[in-house]
Amino acid sequence: MSFTTHTGNRGLVLEEKLIFEQGEPGRTGVDLPKPAGIKSRLGGLDRDSDVGLPGLSEPQVVRHFTRLSQKNFGIDSGFFPLGSCTMKHNPRLNEKVARMPGLADLHPMQPESTVQGALELIDSCAHWLLVLTGMPAVSMSPAAGAQGELCGMMAIRAALDARGENRRRVLVPESAHGTNPATAAACGFTVDSIPATEDGRVDLAAFEAKLGDDVAGIMLTNPNTCGLFERDVRKIADLVHAAGGYFYCDGANFNAIVGRVRPADLGIDAMHINLHKTFSTPHGGGGPGSGPVVFSDALAPFAPIPYVVRKGEKFHLVETADEKDGNKPFGRLKGFHGQMGMFIRALSYMKSHGADGLRQASGDAVLNANYLLARLKDKLSVAFPGYCMHEALFDDDFLKDTGVSTLDLAKAIIDEGFHPMTMYFPLVVHGALLIEPTETETKESIDQFCDAVLALVAKAESGDAEFFKNAPYLTPRRRLDETAAARKPVLRWMPETA
C-alpha cells in the first residue's frame, strides 16, 4: 500500500531538517558559569558580530543526530562487502580502551617522563607491525593510507637524493588506486603506467621494458586491486632493484595475507598499512584512518620525525631532525606523533587476535571471498580466472543485453538490505564489481547475499530493466542528482534572504 503522510515521515524513517533550520535564539545545549566580566585582552579584536550558529537544546541535538544515524548503513547494520575497503567488524573493546583515562586525555606536548606508557604503547604497536611484515623499521606518523604512500615515496625521493641520483619516473600499474599516481606526482615524480596481463597481474615483459636509469621505483599493490596475488612479485622486486630503483608496496590489502606472508620475504622497500582496514579501526564515515609505513634498511634512515626509540627501560621521542643518531629524516608529516587513538585500537585488536587469530582472520577472509566467488561465478562474469584473495572481482559482461548497468544492479542490492560492492573500480575491468565479504561474516550472511544477487540477475535477464533503472525504492532518499550538485554547487546552508 502506498500513500503519503502529512509529515513526510514514514514510520521509523523520519524526515530531519538541518540544525540551522531548527535553531531558536536563546536555546542552548550547554550550561556555563556566568562570565565574571573581566576586561578583555583580545588586542581590540573582540568579535562584534554574530557567528550565525543555531541554538538547540540537548534533547533536540540527540534526536537530530539519532535520526541522521538512522539514514546510514554501517557494518553494524548489515553485510557491507565494499571491495578494497575491508568493512570488517569493529570490536567495541577497542573503543573502550581508547577512551581510558591516561590514554584519551594525554596531551601531545607533555614531558616525556609523564607519557612513558603511551610511548611504550606506540613501540608495542610498532613491534607487532614489524614482526607481521618482517621488516626492520616502521614510521607510525602517517595519518591515513594516502599519507602513508606520501611517507614511503618521500623516503624514496630522499634516498635517491642522498645517492645523488635524479631518477624521476615511477612505474604504476593501471589497476592502481588513484592515490598512487596522485602521491607520486606530489613527490615530484612522473607517472608511467604499466599494463595488466590477461590474468589481472602486472605484465612482466612490459614492466621490464620500462625499466631504466631514470626509474625511481614501482608502486605496486599486493595483493592487487583485482583481488589477486602478484605471483611475479619477487621477480618484480629483483628487477627494480637491479635497475637501481625501489619497491613501494601499497599495503591496502595486507588483510589478505597478514600472519601468512611477510612482505619482507617478497623484497619490498616500503609499505603502508591501513590500520582501519587490516586492523579494524573504525572507518567512521570516512576517517580517521592511520597509515604506518614499514621500511627496509635502505630507506629506514629517511623516515620522518617524530619517532619513538627505546633506551634501556625508558622510551624516548625523537622530535627533531637534528638529533645525532645517524638518521636523515625527510621531514615531518603531521602536527604531532601520529594517530595515537588508532594505535590503541589496533593494538587492542592485534592482542585480541594474537598471532594465531590474525592468521585465522586472513585465512577466513580469503575463504569467504573464494566461497562467494564459487557461488556467483556461473551467473556473473568473473574478471580473471583462478582463486582470488580477500575479494572477488567481476566485470559487467553478464549484464550485456539486459539494459542493466553495474550501478543499476548496485542500487537494487541496496533495496535487498545490503551495502553494495565497490563499483567501477579497478578501472582495468569494464563495469567492475569488487566484492569483499571479510572474515567476520557468517556463511549464512554470504549465502543470503549471493541468493539475492542471483535472484536480481535472473530478474535482469528476464528483461525488467526499468525496475533496475529506478532502484532503489525503499531508502530514505532515492537516486540523487549528482550532475545538478556539481553544476551549481550548494556547499553550505544559507539563511533565506528577504
Binding site: P181, G285, G335, M340, S348, K411, I414
Partner: protein
C-alpha cells in the same frame, strides 16, 4: 576467536563448494617459501578481560591531563566535551559506516558533513569549507599547495608566528614540488608588525601564511597584510590552532583572507596524545574548485526531495589520478562528526560563552603567574594561551612542576630546539576546564620552583 564466526564444519563445506583441498591451496600464487606454515612469533589470542587489563597497565604509566592541573596548549587544547558527543559518535551507523559512496544509504553522514561545512564556514567567516582534512598542520601545507595552483606561482612566505610543526609539515610537503618556502623567525617579545612580511612579498609570491592567534598567543589584525598580498596578486592564508578562539575574536574572513585553515580538535575531540584530530579548511567561492579534499553538496533525489551527495569530485585522486588537487582520500569523518555535535550543542550562545570563559580563565591565570617573582607574561594580547618569560630555563621548570603533580606549560625549547634565545619561555594555556584552585596551585608551585 570471538570475532570469527566460521566453524570447522563451515570451513569444510565451503572448501568443498570452492573445490579446494585446503586454505593453503587458495594461496597457491604466493612464491615458493614465502607462505608461512606456522603463526609468527607473537603472543596468541587473548580474551577481552586480559586485553583490557594489559591496556590499563599502559594507561596507568601516564599522567593524564584530566587527573592533574594542566595548562598545556601549543596546538592541542583540553576542553570539556559534552557526554552527548561521545554517545552520538559511538552509534554504529556513524562509527562503522564508510565514505558515503552510496548516497541513498548515507544521508546521515552526508547531512552532518553539510552541517559541518556550514559551521566551519561560519566560524571562520568564509564562503565555503570542505568535509575535513587530517589535522591543522596538513591543512596548512595543503593550503600552500592550493595557493600555488591558484596563482601559478611557486613561493610561500610563512610568518614567524606560525606553529613550528606547521612550518615543518609545509616545508616537507613543498620540498619536492619546487616550491620556495620563505619567512622569518618569530620571537615572543618582538612584536610582529603588520608589515613584518611586506618586503618578502613579491610578484612571485603565491601566498603569505600567518597564524591567528599566533603560536605565542598574540592576536593581530591582518587586514593590512591581506591588502599587501592582494596588491601583489598573492593569497592570504590564515591558520589557527584553537578553533574555540573565533567565539571571542573577529573571524579571519573579516580581514579578507583567501584561505582559512587549522586545527578543529578543540571542539568535540579528545587530546588523544596528538591524533586523530580534524583539519578545518575554508576558502572563498571563487577558489572552491582548487580546494583539496572531499566536499558535500546539496541536491535533490528523483522524487524531488532534498538530499546530499559528495560533489566536485573531478578535483580528486580517484578521478584525476596524478592531476588531482591532493592525494587525500580518507579524511577525518568521525572527528568532524564530534565537532558538529559539540558545535550544535554549543550554538551561538554556548560557543561565544565558552570562548569568553576561556579568555577569562586565561586572564586570571596570567595575572596569577605575573604575580610570581621570576615569571612574567610577555603578551599584550591573547585568547586562552600566552607566553611566560621565566628566570630559569623553561624545560627545567616544567619538569619541576611535573614533580609537584602539575602540567604547567610547554617550554618553547620543545618547539624550537635550535633557538637558544627562547630557552626561558614557556607557553601556558588555560581553558574552561581549569578551576580557580588549579590556577592557585600552578602559581604557588611556580613560586617554589622559581625561588
Amino acid at each position: 576467536m570471538r570475532y570469527l564466526p566460521l566453524t570447522k564444519a563451515d570451513r569444510v563445506s565451503m572448501l568443498e563448494t570452492i573445490g579446494a583441498k585446503s586454505v593453503d591451496e587458495l594461496y597457491s600464487d604466493v612464491p615458493e617459501g614465502a607462505l608461512l606454515s606456522e603463526p609468527v612469533d607473537l603472543p596468541h589470542h587473548l580474551g577481552e578481560l586480559q586485553v583490557e587489563r594489559d591496556m590499563a597497565k599502559l594507561a596507568a604509566k601516564n599522567m593524564g591531563t584530566a587527573s592533574v592541573p594542566s595548562f598545556l596548549g601549543a596546538g592541542a587544547y583540553r576542553h570539556h566535551v559534552p557526554a552527548t558527543v561521545d554517545y552520538i559518535i559511538q552509534r554504529g551507523e556513524f562509527l562503522t559506516a564508510y565514505t558515503p559512496y552510496q548516497p541513498e544509504i548515507a544521508q546521515g553522514t552526508l547531512q552532518y558533513l553539510f552541517e559541518f561545512q556550514t559551521q566551519v564556514a561560519s566560524i571562520t567567516g568564509m564562503d565555503v569549507a570542505n568535509a575535513s582534512m587530517w589535522d591543522g598542520a596538513t591543512s596548512c601545507a595543503e593550503a600552500v599547495l592550493m595557493a600555488c595552483r591558484a596563482t601559478r606561482r611557486k613561493k610561500a612566505v610563512l610568518s614567524g608566528g606560525l606553529h613550528p610543526h606547521y612550518r615543518e609539515v609545509t616545508e616537507t610537503y613543498c620540498q619536492y614540488s619546487d616550491t620556495e618556502v620563505a619567512g622569518r623567525d618569530g620571537h615572543p617579545e618582538k612584536q610582529a608588525t603588520a608589515d613584518e612580511l611586506d618586503d618578502l612579498i613579491d610578484d612571485q609570491t603565491a601566498c603569505v601564511v600567518v597564524q591567528y592567534p599566533d603560536v605565542f598567543g598574540r592576536i593581530q589584525d591582518h587586514t593590512k597584510l591581506a591588502d599587501a598580498c592582494h596588491a601583489k596578486g598573492a593569497l592570504l592564508i590564515v591558520v589557527f590552532t584553537e578553533a574555540m578562539a573565533f567565539g571571542a575574536v573577529k573571524s579571519p574572513g573579516s580581514f579578507g583572507a583567501d584561505i582559512v585553515c587549522g586545527e578543529g580538535q578543540s571542539i568535540g575531540n579528545n587530546l588523544n596524545y596528538g591524533g586523530p584530530y580534524v583539519g578545518l579548511f575554508a576558502t572563498t567561492s571563487k577558489l572552491v574548485r582548487q580546494m583539496p579534499g572531499r566536499l558535500c553538496g546539496e541536491t535533490v533525489d528523483q522524487d524531488g526531495k532534498r538530499g546530499f551527495v559528495l560533489t566536485l569530485s573531478t578535483r580528486e585522486q580517484h578521478i584525476r589520478r596524478e592531476k588531482a588537487t591532493s592525494n587525500i582520500c580518507t579524511n577525518s569523518g568521525l572527528c568532524s562528526l564530534a565537532f558538529t555535535v559539540h558545535m550544535s550543542l554549543l550554538g551561538e550562545d554556548g560557543y561565544r560563552g565558552v570562548a569568553t570563559l576561556n579568555h577569562e580563565t586565561a586572564c586570571k591565570t596570567a595575572d596569577a603567574i605575573d604575580a610570581v617573582p621570576g615569571a612574567e607574561v610577555v603578551n599584550d594580547s591573547f585568547f586562552n594561551e600566552f607566553t611566560v618569560k621565566l628566570a630559569k630555563p623553561a624545560a627545567e621548570v616544567v619538569e619541576a612542576l611535573v614533580a609537584k603533580g602539575i602540567l604547567g606549560g610547554v617550554p618553547l625549547s620543545r618547539l624550537y630546539p635550535n633557538r637558544d634565545d627562547l630557552d626561558h619561555y614557556m607557553l601556558v594555556a588555560a581553558t574552561e576546564t581549569n578551576t580557580d584552585e588549579d590556577i592557585a596551585d600552578l602559581a604557588s608551585a611556580l613560586k617554589e620552583v622559581l625561588a
